[in-house]
Symmetry: C2
Subunit: 192 residues, 2 copies
């Protein structure tokens, strides 16, 4: 079994979801919530609140790995820098606790849970509800993406044929050498 | 006197500089260096190294405030997300230690130290050397921007006529109310 924390990063609303995934792919909801920060607060206080919220979740639920949405500069320009800053402190909160972080794109997540990368939000939420055998859509509604990220990561691990870096990109020769050294030192990564 | 830590955020090279600025504007170099991370390392390890490096610097030099370069989505798209993630953990490292963070744009920094916002890197470095009364340009060379940021912040504080948020933008009514409440509670911010 693997326990995955999925994080849909954002400054105002940061979705977090924890699932347990068995070898059979049977997937169970452990936790879902949204960490909120006040847009009127200073930026440094907002990122600190996100870092502390994610840190508390990791300490409470002890996931094996963190799955984080990969942010692109091409996304909504008005919010993308805040989203990237939030993702920075999520990466740090995980690494400070010895956890690896895997990045997945929104289309990878949609494809993993619905079968096609162009699925809309409603379809993703419906599939997350089905996969987790819930009586109703997960709430808060915008936390469904965090659960989908966690499910995506656990399910994709099965099918990964080539080693990928934590960033989700194919490993460079230097990264492969590093990863091999890490493995021979007895510390295999969960995303490799 | 105010002690300012300036940070020029970056994933591979994060410039950091500390200066002391007297009421007369006489400015003295306290520290300058670059925190480097290995591009072949996992992203989460890189942001953790930056967070820890900045945290150690704050603990050692105890600045009164942190000045951070404002990152725009329009910048170099290839590196901007990493730069924003690095800035996220710098914000967090400061806030976790009770420090406010002020954001300044590159053109604000250039204008503050050279007199015009379109100055080139050589001109900024030359002025930083003069301002700090150094015998040679500060090294490593790419740390000059971090020193310029710190100088910019300390010098601009004198001339600020309208209250600005930590983000450097004019305060919204909600932010003004928040700031006023904070001041009446006896905790004035250094950037207000």
């Amino acid at each position: 079994m693997v326990r995955v924390l999925g994080v849909d990063p954002g400054l105002t609303r940061c979705g977090v979801g924890v699932v347990d995934v068995e070898a059979t792919r049977r997937t169970t909801l452990v936790h879902v919530s949204v960490i909120r920060t006040d847009p009127a607060s200073p930026l440094e206080q907002r990122v600190l609140a996100i870092a502390e919220g994610v840190g508390l979740l990791i300490d409470e639920h002890r996931p094996d790995v963190v799955a984080l949405e990969r942010v692109f500069a091409q996304h909504n320009v008005r919010t993308v820098m805040g989203t990237a800053q939030a993702s920075g402190v999520v990466l740090q909160a995980a690494a400070a606790r010895g956890l690896a972080v895997a990045l997945h794109t929104p289309s990878e997540v949609k494809a993993a849970v619905t079968g096609h990368g162009g699925a809309d939000k409603r379809q993703v939420t419906a599939m997350v509800q089905r996969i987790l055998r819930l009586d109703a859509p997960p709430t808060p509604a915008d936390a469904a993406d965090a659960l989908a990220l966690a499910i995506c990561h656990a399910w994709r691990r099965d099918g990964v044929s080539t080693p990928v870096a934590a960033g989700g990109t194919p490993l460079t020769p230097a990264q492969r050498a590093w990863r091999a050294a890490e493995k021979s030192a007895g510390a295999p990564r969960l995303d490799g």
